[in-house]
């Protein structure tokens, strides 16, 4: 087992209009986790807790082996954080920011910073307020990466980026991962980015973890099956059935536990299969969240 970069166990945090409820979340060292949730699902609150910016009411939080929030000073030296609101000073230049970060973090890697400037097509002498949104995100990422943190925490890093900037950011994240001891937690509501670069996924909705697991295994388990179901036949007994859409003979079955046995079971029930399709992470995410919300209602 790889050591854990992040371990949250039974973490609760109560606000007047929102609460995190017994959140368990683990990230193995050397991997990228995509942390997916709708707006307001609890992604940012969870991230603030694991950074020590907000203290949990109960539950334990360990980041890079440090208990949070009590050992947050130790942990923070090794965490790079980039959030949507960025917190850069508009009237200062990127160089000024680089000098500031370098003076605080002794592990600042000036030559890597210079490489990133080129790769991201940024100019150090430009003031932050003159930069586009994409350039600001890349500037913030540069400031975090050149510290060579063991853990990168990114809150919606690709939101609002154009396709080229998005490509540059994802490519840079993946080149960081060539080194085995680095880990990334990356929150998003963009399932496409997560599907591309994440090793593990965690779904959060309304303050609760809905699903967590290995991305490839997860994609492997879900299928959409187009089938022909004669009148009077039923597929009720099928394990892992999420939904059966459509009326009449032509139906669409969504299943979360697909295996070789599924086809046999469908045929044994009297239906014939036209096509078995893989599903995108986005489709799976939406089905999972809607399914869970309906369960809660009942």
């Amino acid at each position: 087992m790889d050591p854990l970069a992040i371990a949250l166990r039974g973490v609760c945090k109560r606000y007047p209009h929102f609460s995190l409820d017994k959140v368990d979340l683990t990230l193995a060292q050397g991997s990228i986790m995509g942390f997916l949730g709708a707006n307001g699902a609890g992604k940012s609150t969870t991230i603030r807790i694991l950074l020590g910016l907000v203290h949990q009411d109960s539950g334990s939080v360990e980041v890079l082996g440090h208990a949070m929030p009590s050992q947050q000073a130790l942990a923070k030296a090794e965490i790079g954080f980039v959030s949507e609101d960025l917190r850069l000073y508009g009237s200062a230049t990127l160089q000024w920011h680089m000098d500031l970060v370098a003076s605080v973090y002794p592990r600042w890697d000036a030559s890597y910073a210079a490489t990133l400037l080129k790769r991201f097509d940024l100019q150090a002498e430009r003031k932050i307020k003159g930069l586009s949104h994409g350039q600001r995100v890349k500037a913030a990422l540069l400031l975090a990466l050149a510290r060579r943190p063991r853990l990168l925490v990114l809150d919606e890093p690709t939101t609002g980026l154009d396709p080229v900037a998005r490509h540059e950011v994802l490519a840079e994240l993946m080149s960081v991962m060539v080194e085995e001891e680095r880990s990334v937690l990356f929150s998003s509501h963009n399932t496409r980015d997560v599907e591309q670069i994440a090793d593990a996924i965690t779904f959060i909705d309304r303050g609760r973890i809905v699903e967590a697991g290995d991305k490839e295994e997860y994609l492997e388990r879900w299928r959409r099956i187009r089938l022909d179901l004669p009148a009077g036949r039923s597929l009720d007994q099928l394990p892992g059935m999420v939904s059966l859409a459509g009326e009449g003979r032509s139906r669409i079955l969504t299943i979360s536990d697909f295996s070789d046995h599924t086809a046999l079971a469908v045929q044994a029930a009297g239906a014939s299969i036209h096509a078995v399709e893989r599903m995108s992470l986005e489709e799976i995410f939406v089905q999972t969240v809607i399914g869970r919300r309906e369960e809660v209602k009942q």
């Binding site: 490519a171 993946m174 991962m177 060539v178 591309q196 090793d199 490839e216």
Partner: protein
């Protein structure tokens, strides 16, 4: 996504870009080169190892398998899959088996002409 990576690697091996015995990129390196997750590349390598296309040596990375008939094996598998797919699509369109055979013959004849 791992299926695409498998396809790309099979192709590189079949056309000789990656000759038998050649070292291939580490899982993490290829993940970085392609900007896809480490686990996806790992999955592709496992599958290719099972097929005998590559060999992974503990702690020494992966190489292209020495099997000389490798590219034949790869194309054989590809042909099998394409034929299955043709049969499936044909029956989905409601074509009779003879019609599907005729279509295949037409395709063969077209290839001869070019």
């Amino acid at each position: 996504m791992y299926l695409q990576i498998i396809e790309q690697i099979r192709h590189k091996v079949a056309v000789g870009d990656w000759p038998p015995g050649a070292e291939i990129p580490s899982i993490r390196q290829l993940a970085a080169d392609l900007s896809v997750s480490v686990i996806t590349v790992k999955r592709a390598y496992l599958e290719l190892e099972r097929e005998g296309v590559i060999l992974t040596q503990q702690g020494r990375g992966s190489i292209v398998s020495h099997t000389p008939s490798l590219s034949t094996v790869v194309w054989e598998q590809q042909l099998g899959r394409s034929l299955d797919e043709a049969a499936r699509l044909g029956s989905m369109l409601g074509l009779a088996p003879d019609e599907i055979r005729t279509r295949l013959e037409t395709a063969i004849n077209q290839l001869k002409e070019t």
